[in-house]
Amino acid sequence: MYSAKVMDHFSNPRNVGDMPDADGVGTEGNPTCGDVMQIFIKVKDGRIVDIKFKTFGCGAAIAVSSMITEMAKGKTLDEALTISKESVANELEGLPPQKMHCSNLGADALKKAIEDYKSKNK
């Protein structure tokens, strides 16, 4: 059902954890209907220098979270904003079609985290 890449990121998720001193936090989803993703970023000179996530959800949701944190790390905020659901799914070597939208909230959570950072640093 899942690609080897998904299983790898699900089984050994990267960048799991809290970040009490995060510069931006984004939460997407709702536990009553499925997955919840929370992304924490640390920003320096317009670049994401550290990133963590916490996720309530299925294997796909956890793998997506892990993958997007890897993709975003080191990128400028503008670069990070170009990360889409599709690009995450591609990096994961595909997601089952039915999981494509409901468990693929990483890009939205990241966007929210960046917006949160921006709104705090206007």
């Binding site: 899942y2 299983m7 699900f10 089984s11 998720p13 799991v16 809290d18 009490p20 995060a22 936090v25 939460t27 709702n30 536990p31 009553t32 209907c33 499925g34 997955d35 919840v36 929370q38 924490f40 916490k54 996720t55 309530f56 959800g57 299925c58 294997g59 796909a60 949701a61 956890i62 039915q98 999981k99 409901c102 468990s103």
Partner: protein
């Protein structure tokens, strides 16, 4: 790596003794039971023998057993076949919210055909109160269907009580006994039901064989029309080996019923110790009146599919009623109808034990399960409680 199969509600492994009984019908005895020559009459006899075995497991008559290809077919046949046969007497049907999709979706089909369907509520343990059945009955009611036991939470329903009510009101009563037949004693005469569904693969028989008990004299509209197989009530060349297998599996289930129940019951009770080693784990379904090998839980703060995947990586095969683990991506209607908040339903995990599970299997699970939970809770934003830290946002859980 140890492999622990704890998903007997999904399907059972085929008993080797059942397979041996089927074998000749894949080989020399391949005849069509309708044929006149010996090859056909031997196949016919084999089917009639199996019919007797299924009847004797359930205390019914052989002539009351109609073979089908699955539990789902039996359920469709029962619900639609009786509703249609009696439509001139009324167009109201009652089912419970604990039913399998094959009942619920058949009920929806009837709604499209102009029937009215009442969906009975259940209590927090998933029990249908016979009083609600009584209240739901109208002059138009022709059929009631309540599952004998839910495969998701294991709760056994008060079938006899509901059957008594139905009989008194001259309403036909069907029970879906797919999860119970072969696993706990079924005495149809004593239950007093008019129709009862079964599936062989739920008691170590083959896939592709089911049956519907139809009380003698009861008229039912066929689901599959054609030739005169099954006395004209279910057409199609009979799946002889599968039917033979169902018969043999029924025979074995009958003779080994007590020891199997004792065995899986003991292991299940041992499995329940999970609750001692992991916090915030809740048993779902009835605490006592449940299928003996059935242990179902909701684990707070994490999601079922993720549990299944990590368990599978350790060789443990289980099931979940979470939205993400169902291919339809909907949380189990059974869990929701019991009043569980859907966030908690997301943490559903179901272990169903079988005769071939061992004490070591359970010990292995008890050792591995807490680690799985710990790992997923570390990833979960709710790891320390239902509320997102740093956000303060309260999760929508109505307990």
């Amino acid at each position: 790596m140890r492999r622990c199969y704890f998903d007997h509600v999904a399907t059972n492994p085929l008993d080797a003794r059942v397979f041996d009984a089927m074998l000749p019908y894949f080989k020399e005895e391949f005849g069509n039971p309708l044929s006149m020559y010996e090859l056909g009459s031997k196949a016919k006899e084999a089917i009639e023998n199996a019919r007797g075995q299924v009847a004797s497991l359930t205390n019914s008559k052989a002539s009351e057993i109609i073979f089908t290809a699955s539990g789902a077919e039996s359920n469709n046949f029962a619900l639609r076949g009786i509703a249609l046969a009696r439509q001139n007497e009324g167009k109201h049907v009652i089912v419970s919210r604990m039913e399998h999709h094959s009942i619920l979706n058949s009920a929806r089909f009837l709604e499209k055909m102009g029937f009215v369907v009442t969906y009975l509520p259940v209590d927090k343990h998933g029990v249908v109160d016979p009083d609600t059945v009584k209240k739901a009955i109208t002059k138009e009611t022709t059929l009631i269907s309540v599952t004998h036991a839910s495969s998701e939470v294991g709760t056994i329903e008060p079938i006899k009580e509901i059957a008594d009510i139905a009989r008194e009101k001259k309403i036909i009563f069907h029970t879906d006994a797919v999860a119970t037949t072969g696993n706990i004693p079924i005495n149809i005469k004593e239950l007093g039901v008019d129709l009862l569904s079964m599936a062989a693969h739920q008691f170590y028989g083959p896939k592709g064989a089911g049956a519907l008990y139809v009380r003698e004299g009861l008229r039912i509209v066929p689901l599959i029309y054609g030739g005169i197989q099954e006395n004209g009530r279910r057409a199609g060349t009979e799946n002889v080996p599968a039917i033979v297998g169902m018969g043999r599996a029924a025979e074995l289930a009958g003779s080994e019923m007590n020891s199997r129940m004792e065995h899986v019951g003991r292991l299940r009770d041992k499995l329940l110790n999970i609750k001692a080693s992991v916090e915030n784990v809740h048993l779902t379904g009835h605490p006592d009146n449940r299928l003996p090998g059935h242990a179902s839980f909701c684990v707070e703060f994490i999601e079922g599919e993720a549990m299944l995947l990590l368990l599978a990586a350790k060789g443990v095969y289980a099931a979940s009623g979470s939205a993400c683990s169902s291919k339809a991506l909907k949380a189990s209607p059974v869990l929701l109808s019991m009043g569980l908040p859907s966030s908690l339903a997301q943490g559903s995990i179901v272990f169903t034990l079988g005769k071939d599970n061992s004490d070591e299997d359970i010990e292995y699970l008890l050792a591995e399960f807490p680690q799985v939970i710990k790992r997923l809770r570390e990833i979960s934003p709710y790891g320390k409680g239902w509320g997102i830290e740093g956000e303060g946002g309260q999760c929508i859980v109505q307990k």
